[in-house]
Amino acid sequence: AQKVTQAQTEISVVEKEDVTLDCVYETRDTTYYLFWYKQPPSGELVFLIRRNSFDEQNEISGRYSWNFQKSTSSFNFTITASQVVDSAVYFCALTSPANQAGTALIFGKGTTLSVSS
């Protein structure tokens, strides 16, 4: 069975601090896709990044960076110099084409990030 674990329920930081959100996944498939989504207070899930299982390169996009390590089944997300607008719930998710039942995302429980000024 596939599973995503986000052990950090809530994180509070002060503006300009760096923060890392952890994500650990479980799957027996060799081909799979990992995602991060942001859910601001408005409620709409916003896509941030996709990683496929064959690409372990880390990625940086502005203040955001992602570290994918297959050896530890982790796909962590770091926000550098956090801002108040980063306050949201962040979800890590997994899917794979080998799943005969479909390609729905398997979500973790989410990490609530609060950034204060």
């Binding site: 995503v4 799979y32 896709y33 995602f35 989504y37 408005s42 409620g43 709409e44 899930l45 916003v46 896509f47 996709r50 496929n52 979800f91 998710a93 899917t95 794979s96 084409p97 799943n99 039942a101 479909g102 390609t103 729905a104 995302l105 979500f107 973790g108 429980k109 989410g110």
Partner: protein, 116 residues
């Protein structure tokens, strides 16, 4: 490009009543998903459509929930009769082609259902 549209945004009903939610996906997207998000948890799939066919409804409580996607575009999710534990946000998502899982899913604003 217009996003995924959902209505209504909020709904309050009494238990045992029925309710319906509507979703209009992004134009051209073949795959449509309905997720249920209970407070404090991540979204969980209820049903996945590929065009107008059902791909996965294994987690849909079929004794009370039903969904359809006529003509492979809009979709409606219905609950009849509602129970207290159905209180949640119902999210609709679409992707260009969900057959491989590669394409990202775009989510609508959700419908917040409260069952009293």
């Amino acid at each position: 490009e217009a996003g995924v549209a959902q209505s209504p945004r909020y709904k309050i009903i009494e238990k045992r009543q029925s309710v319906a939610f509507w979703c209009n996906p992004i134009s051209g997207h073949a795959t449509l998903y309905w997720y249920q998000q209970i407070l404090g948890q991540g979204p969980k799939l209820l049903i996945q459509f590929q065009n107008n066919g059902v791909v996965d409804d294994s987690q849909l409580p079929k004794d009370r929930f039903s969904a359809e996607r006529l003509k492979g575009v809009d979709s409606t999710l219905k609950i009849q009769p509602a129970k207290l534990e159905d209180s949640a946000v119902y999210l609709c998502a679409s992707s260009l082609d969900g057959a491989s899982g590669y394409n990202e899913q775009f989510f609508g604003p959700g419908t917040r259902l409260t069952v009293l």
